[in-house]
Symmetry: C2
Subunit: 158 residues, 2 copies
DNA sequence: TTGTGTGGTTGCATTATTAAACCAGATACC
DNA sequence: GGTATCTGGTTTAATAATGCAACCACACAA
């Protein structure tokens, strides 16, 4: 069996996230969903991917709890795909990706849009990582520690 | 020619970022590099991917300015791969992915590590998006605006 | 100088992606 | 009511990417 590697059982949370939506199209579907696109045909027109791939991805994202299907909002018998809370939780990742391109892309003039505060139309701040006591942390200021054991795990009587 | 779709010319900065390191292995290589792994064999042992795939990915990441090769730090004639500033800029994306898994993974007990402040060993804060004036912004509080035209573009004399 | 480790490349089998054709049910049109 | 068209897919066949194992050149160690 020479299947594509799965990262599902990995202990690294980054790998685990990639296992859920780390393929070529899933994040773009999620981006579209967070922009308000809901219908199969909307995704297909926006992304220009083959319909069978879109169908596969939508099914996987629904299975994994990122999207859910709801009855169409226009009263027709069709269904729509909307983000679950778990799916909306991906928003910071999309913002981080966007800000990386804004900072490091070689042709930033080709970027069409900027992310702004809806209240006043001003660009948002750059994401930053903070310590408990409010200092900005860079990669070198951080470390990985083993996760403390969960208290809730109840021991089975032998 | 039925090639895999490229997102390089896309106007969306998220798509542009995914075009650079959005494939199955690149982000994991970058994660490893940011943990201090530098040698081909270290990446291969850590990730367990085929050597030809690793070679292809490393070459692509070097071409795209995420990694650069340097002489081995132990004085041998081999080379090592280290992150460029552009590569280190991916750190917030890794953090966002990690935090998403910490919050939404169905088996969080399988996550082995937590990210802490090196100063005091305490867990870092959750990434949050802020407005210019310091309010926390969620997806619904934001909007996309067309990017203002760049002033620096000089007109060619006709 | 013989042996071993590093850092790949090559070849082949398997899997994933793609485009295009097809299709059933829902909707719109007359 | 009957026909045409739209929506949301599935199926098929070709091409590209991935995975594994074998191989290989060079560095290094004994």
């Amino acid at each position: 069996m020479v299947k594509r590697t799965s990262l599902a059982g990995d202990a690294c949370p980054i790998a685990r996230a990639l296992d859920v939506f780390g393929d070529w199209w899933s994040l773009l579907i999620i981006r579209d969903a967070s922009l308000g696109r809901r219908r199969f045909s909307e995704f297909q027109a926006s992304l220009g991917l083959a319909k069978n791939i879109l169908a596969t991805r939508l099914r996987a994202l629904v299975e994994r709890g990122i999207l859910k299907t709801v009855p169409a909002s226009d009263g027709s018998a069709y269904q729509e795909y909307v983000l679950t809370p778990k799916g909306r939780g991906i928003f910071p990742i999309l913002v981080a990706l966007r800000q990386w391109s804004e900072e490091f892309d070689e042709h930033p003039d080709e970027i069409a849009t900027i992310l702004v505060d809806r209240e006043n139309g001003k660009p948002v701040k750059k994401l930053a990582l903070y310590s408990r006591d409010g200092r900005v942390l860079h990669a070198a200021d951080t470390a990985l520690k083993p996760r403390p054991a969960t208290k809730r795990a109840r021991r089975v009587v032998p």
